[in-house]
Symmetry: C2
């Protein structure tokens, strides 16, 4: 069994992995909210649609402290399946990768030290066609770009992840706004991907916004302002800043990373080298989405690598649910595991054991209701 | 002429400097406000007492962008002498030391990406005896400690500086609250150190707070809550976190660093190694304050090193004013220059040339009214 699966552009992906062994790196987790996640059926990243607004802050509080602070429970799906931050936390515990949280517009401020972007903004429902003000989209991009510049000289590699419930729907919005036909290709945190609902939301927003795809390709902030969210444009700006300083980037996420790639591409960023998408096996085997198809359509030069995470034999049913199509990815889980393996030389089996330990600890201390 | 002056504990200081050559480092600048700075006569860190509340944000906006964003002018004294952030910026430009801004309670939020501490709080006038709520003092300490832990594994050295007008007065407050008799020993940003005013403010606050020095030594947050400010306790927490992870620290500042050392010491942090105070020659030659005396009283194991900055022969009168006792230190100027010399091997003469270039650029573009 291999620890890393080279899913797309294998040679280039291997070269990237070889180049980052023992390098200096930092992980940054971008959090933000879009009210799109409160539309019933869009997101299962919390026990109820309204609670998805609190998930990003709770995710990163849990990541740092091992327990949320703003609420007393670890984010779970309505079925009680825990946040992928659990995987990220286990990987960080072992690899000791330094990391920061970046608030791009979380509905509540996380109760941990975090980077605030001055233009942070909670995204509106994108079926309004008015997701975030144009000035905020532009501000988030350039503030993140500057942030990358402030940190660049200490790093050979940045791993950047996200927590934004509703993020695959806004990804569909951004890509559609930029003129890509990608219906049915984005992922979902559940086994039943609500493609119809997502399409209806995006189509409604597209009509209301009167967005012109050609104009949006010249100025992708227009697509973000109409149909996007605060997180992906911030990640794109950070990516642009990193690339301009010669720092490599792992885009740690699933199909949402296509939105990051698309915004950066249409901002003129050269993505032909120094960047890969790092995700989980669950995204790759997902029949309800198509990450390779997305990358091929948008920027076919970006390799995709997956951490070969498999919970089939987990002693915990809450984790075995991942094998049934739940959760799949988030809070940079896949990319953080990949960096722990590739940079720190930690075997995947060791990381999986740590995930089990972390799950058990979390169940014991608080927050996760064990599924029985 | 030497680039570095070993002012106190020379052997230990040299050993520290030798140990950090080419090390991995990061600088963090802690900003915050205390309304103490608006008491007329306390601070000359802006053109008027009220404007001192805006100086920390403007300082770091200038540091990042080369110009303030929130206001159109670079912070200057009433005489038009520019902020020491100019020195810091020049050193960072050459050394490319990665850096972050930490907001502990700035009166206005800086318009750049920055770390927010959840407990950030603008300090009240300390003659009230109620500087900041106890829970905020404690929160800032532990949030900063956690932050150091998040970043520690990428660094061998942290350089931590401050921007808080009124900070020497709150330093006097914290030290007095902890039972140290240090009247007349703290520095000032002007040639006429208002020791009498500072003493009167602290004495009034001390009486009103009913603070007991013995209790405060057991729980230094009490001294901070009565007579302190948000910045020094945050820096102390960060120092504690760094030391616990084996990361070295340059406390980049003047007599204010005595408050950081004192808080950490009474929190039980071992300061016998891995920490130095890094400041400027102007602090050392200042006849109106006594940094060596302060350190000897509080924690005599901490070396003091100064960057041998001298603007006597500067072509710009605005900088020659530094030789008349103006400004002296701030925004981590001395420590950042020391790190640029010691870690990056940049000669002081090169840094001084860059400071002159930066001064000229700033005068040309905006903000500094040239003194003629």
């Amino acid at each position: 069994m291999v620890d890393l699966i080279h899913v797309y552009l294998e040679d280039k992906g291997r070269e990237f992995i070889d180049s980052i062994r023992d390098c200096r790196l930092m992980a940054l987790y971008f959090i933000g909210s879009t009210k799109t996640s409160t539309i019933p059926g869009v997101s299962i990243a919390a026990a109820s649609p309204e609670l998805t607004l609190y998930t990003p802050a709770c995710d990163v509080e849990y990541l740092v402290y091992g327990r949320p602070v703003s609420f007393d429970v670890i984010p779970v799906t309505p079925e009680g399946i825990p946040t992928p931050a659990l995987i990220t936390r286990a990987a960080l515990t072992l690899s000791k990768i330094p990391y920061l949280i970046v608030d791009t517009g979380s509905y509540i401020e996380p109760k941990i030290s975090h980077i605030s972007l001055p233009s942070r903004y909670v995204g509106e429902k994108i079926n309004s066609g008015k997701a975030i003000p144009y000035s905020k989209a532009s501000g988030l991009y350039y503030e993140s770009m500057t942030l990358a510049g402030m940190l660049a000289s200490s790093c050979d590699l940045f791993v950047i992840g996200e927590s934004i419930p509703g993020g695959t729907t806004t990804t569909l919005g951004i890509l559609t706004g930029l003129g890509y036909s990608v219906w049915g290709m984005v992922s979902s945190a559940g086994p039943n991907n609500p493609h119809g609902l997502k399409k209806a939301i995006v189509k409604e927003g597209l009509v209301k916004s009167k967005l012109n795809a050609e104009e949006a390709r010249r100025d992708p902030f227009k697509a973000v302002a109409s149909l996007g969210d605060p997180v992906h444009v911030s990640m794109a700006g950070f990516l642009a800043g990193a690339i301009s300083k010669g720092v490599k980037v792992v885009l740690a996420g699933g199909t949402q990373m296509a939105a990051v790639v698309a915004i950066a591409k249409h901002m003129g960023v050269d993505l032909s080298r120094n960047v890969v998408i790092g995700t989980t096996r669950w995204i790759i085997i997902d029949k309800s989405s198509d990450i390779i198809g997305l990358v091929k359509k948008i920027e076919p030069k970006v390799p995709i690598i997956a951490a070969n995470l498999d919970f089939s034999f987990s002693p915990f049913e809450g984790l075995r649910y991942y094998e049934k199509g739940y959760v799949k990815e988030g809070v940079g889980a896949g990319g953080t595991v990949i960096a722990s393996i590739a940079v720190r030389n930690i075997p995947l089996s060791t990381i999986i054991s740590e995930i089990y330990r972390e799950y058990e600890r979390s169940v014991k201390t608080r927050g996760i209701s064990k599924i029985t």
